[in-house]
């Protein structure tokens, strides 16, 4: 493994990621989207499911309609969530650029 992950890997939101995307979580930031719940509540729920800064994640599956929701691997668990909520998860891509 001589090729390194490019440092300039694009920072993006998990909600925009395609199937096969590998990345590391940079931050959880729940924006202005109205979920009917306080932003801190959404943040807490994401944290409780294991979405914490620093962990590696991989997008395993996409739902049948509008490729939503997505199933994400975190360590040894798989979490299903909608892209809307996944937009709150800022990630750095670890996919090798081709």
């Amino acid at each position: 493994m001589t090729d390194t992950v490019p440092e300039a890997a694009a920072d993006m939101r998990l909600g925009q990621a395609n199937r096969g995307f590998c990345g590391r979580i940079n931050a959880i930031h729940v924006g202005e989207v109205t979920h009917g719940l306080a932003a801190s509540e959404i943040e807490s729920r994401l944290l409780e499911l294991g979405f914490v800064e620093g962990v590696e994640i991989k997008v395993l599956h996409e739902g049948p309609i509008g490729r939503d929701p997505i199933a994400v691997r975190i360590n040894d668990t798989t979490i299903a969530l909608r892209r809307r909520e996944a937009m709150a998860i800022l990630v750095t891509s670890l996919n090798r650029s081709t």
């Binding site: 959880i28 109205t34 979920h35 009917g36 719940l37 801190s40 509540e41 959404i42 943040e43 807490s44 729920r45 994401l46 944290l47 409780e48 499911l49 294991g50 914490v52 800064e53 395993l60 599956h61 996409e62 739902g63 049948p64 309609i65 509008g66 490729r67 939503d68 929701p69 199933a71 691997r73 975190i74 360590n75 040894d76 668990t77 798989t78 979490i79 299903a80 969530l81 909608r82 809307r84 909520e85």
Partner: protein
């Protein structure tokens, strides 16, 4: 619980994240000696049981609803929080918390342990499914883990014989000890910062005490590649549902025939043993026929629950929610509503109770509102009876049964109307300008545990039979009474029932129900049908039996075919797609929503739709010459 019997008894509580195998462990520890009831005032299921430790200590074990934290985001999680904190007046505060963790998935569980440590109760961490963890090469240094967390740690395998021995031995030791609170309760709802810190601490503990898995779970990922495939996944989901409904009808048939002929035989025995008269009629037509007509559904209910329990144990239910989320979202339903709505095909009551998994109130209300529209098994006897009496047993294109097709159409009509109602509710009545989040763990696939499934089925069967034995039985007695009294005057001509209270009620309702083509016998049958839909069949049976003697009751289908027009039969089917007639469902809605208002709304809208559908069906059928 009386305090006298509890002297010396210990109270332990099982706490854990969803999918930690908590319920399987509870089943393994308590076996059939468990009681399922509700916590007072809420419909959160309380599962409790008593067990004897090896050295004879008696332990009251309660299985608390699964939760990721004590923050209490749903009624279920609030119960867990209140019991753990000892705030629930009706529940003895637990002496020991057993935190159940999936040994293959420790991150989230250890964060919960760190949170639980703050409540100041004795705590023990149980690493469940340790066999799977070992097979996957996960090495856990138990002493190290225990030292790092400051909590005793024990392993278990709920689904293996002897897999709980070590746990029982440790529970025994704990039960023998003093079990004083370990400290002050310093728990308060964690902030996001505290959650992060706790997770970091959990990750640090894992790094020191757990060897990373050499062989990660590739199987679940591979299976998911097919089962969650956008096309194949949906096809498989539909196939599973198709097989399920086939099974409910086909497999149950022989047993149902057996039960039904058993009750008939019993009725004949009673008939012969008793002198002709009121008592004979009461026992045979009221009690035996009435109860028998309900118990006959036990096989169907058991098969449906067998499928639901197997799919749940297998880990498929979450996948179904994943596949259905957007599809149901289009109709204003949450992906998680899929499971409650699926259960509603068996009976709306477990379905409505299962809506507890939906934490958003609006989503939960919408689901509760439409759950009774799913064709529950109680409608099956009404449908079967009318279909077999009026729809010819012919095949289209040589293989599609016309009767089956009508049945399918009735189910489809129920589903479509549920989607329609939830759409209308979402856009016009329960409008809120947001969609709540959908986040769900998809657990690793597991081979279902036969014992656990059997215990689940046994509990359901018991609940159903209790209902049949109480509500439905008393309604059958009532309808028999209404149909038998007052007795006809001396020398009166015509069937005795024409002089009964039932006929009076039927006549009174007649003007209202005539436009939809219902005769007075149907009007009468609809009243006890308020107790439970399936009772309408028994009630029709009773009405026609008392009216026309035993022969008519035995061939109720033929009796209907000769006395009803096709238009009336079709109107009756249309009515039953929506019929709000189930007192238990309404009672559960009242309890679940905590308001009479939602119960009244459900009853009102279903009654209106039922009347409208029957009216349109009847008049269209008459216009087409079926009157």
């Amino acid at each position: 619980m009386s305090t006298q019997t509890d002297i010396g008894a210990r109270h332990f509580a099982l706490v854990g994240t969803p999918n930690s195998g908590k319920t399987a462990l509870f089943n393994a520890l308590t076996g059939g000696r468990q009681k399922v009831a509700n916590y007072p005032g809420v419909t959160v299921e309380r599962k409790a049981g008593v067990l004897q430790t090896p050295s004879g200590h008696s332990v009251h074990l309660v299985d608390l609803p699964g939760t990721y934290s004590l923050r209490g985001r749903s009624p279920d999680e609030e119960i867990t929080r209140d019991v753990v904190l000892g705030r629930l007046a009706s529940e003895t505060a637990p002496d020991l918390l057993l935190c159940i963790a999936d040994a293959t998935n420790l991150r989230v569980a250890l964060r919960l342990v760190i949170e639980l440590k703050r409540v100041g109760r004795q705590l023990m961490l149980v690493l469940n499914m340790i066999d799977i963890a070992r097979r996957r090469g996960i090495e856990i240094d138990l002493d190290r883990l225990s030292a790092e967390l400051g909590v005793p740690v024990v392993t278990s395998t709920a689904v293996r014989r002897g897999g709980t021995e070590e746990l029982l031995r440790r529970m025994d030791e704990m039960a023998a000890g003093r079990l004083a609170p370990s400290g002050e309760n310093t728990w308060k709802p964690p902030t996001t910062g505290e959650l992060r810190a706790a997770q970091r601490e959990a990750d640090r503990v894992i790094a020191t005490a757990v060897g990373l898995p050499a062989r990660p779970d590739k199987i679940s990922a591979r299976v998911d590649a097919v089962l969650l495939h956008p096309v194949a996944g949906l096809v498989i989901l539909l196939s599973v549902l198709f097989v399920m409904f086939q099974a409910v009808f086909a497999w149950a048939k022989p047993v149902m025939d057996l039960i039904s002929s058993g009750f008939d035989a019993l009725g004949v025995v009673a008939h012969d043993a008793l002198p002709t008269g009121l008592l004979q009629s009461f026992i045979q037509n009221g009690v035996i026929a009435g109860v028998g007509s309900v118990i006959v559904f036990l096989p169907q209910i058991l098969i449906l629950f067998l499928f639901i329990l197997l799919l749940e144990d297998l880990g498929y239910m979450g996948r179904a929610a994943f596949l259905m989320d957007r599809i149901m979202g289009g109709a204003g339903l949450h992906g998680r509503a899929f499971i409650p709505l699926l259960s509603s095909f068996a009976c709306a009551i477990p379905g409505i109770m299962a809506t507890r998994v939906i934490d958003n109130r609006r989503d939960r209300l919408t689901t509760i509102l439409v759950a009774p529209l799913m064709t529950c098994s109680a409608r099956i006897p009404v449908y079967t009876l009318i279909i077999s009496a009026f729809v010819p047993a012919t095949y289209l294109w040589g293989w599609v049964s016309l009767q089956g097709l009508v049945m399918f159409a009735l189910y489809a009509a129920g589903i479509m109307s549920a989607l329609g109602v939830s759409f209308v509710a979402k856009h016009f009545f329960l409008r809120e300008n947001y969609t709540p989040p959908f986040m769900l763990e998809l657990p690793a696939y597991k081979v279902p545990n036969i014992r656990s499934v059997a215990i689940g089925l046994y509990t359901r069967a018991k609940m159903f039979l209790q209902r049949a034995g109480t509500t439905i039985f008393s309604m059958m007695v009532l309808i028999w009474f209404l149909a038998s009294f007052p007795r006809p005057p001396e020398g009166a001509e015509g069937p005795a029932i024409n002089f009964s209270l039932a006929a009076m009620i039927g006549d009174a309702l007649q003007p209202v129900l005539a436009p939809v083509g219902f005769n007075w016998q149907i009007s009468v049958a609809l009243i006890p049908g308020m107790a439970a839909r399936e009772v309408a069949v028994a009630a029709l049976g009773t009405v026609y039996a008392i009216e026309g003697g035993k022969e008519a009751a035995e061939q109720i289908g033929q009796a209907l075919a000769s006395k009803w027009s096709l238009a009336t039969a079709l109107a009756m089917l249309a009515w039953y797609i929506f019929a709000p007639q189930c007192a238990s469902t309404l009672a559960v809605i009242r309890r679940e929503t905590g308001s009479w208002r939602w119960m009244a709304i459900t009853f009102g809208y279903m009654l209106a739709l039922a009347y409208l559908a029957a009216f349109v069906t009847y008049n269209v059928a008459v216009a087409l010459g079926a009157g």
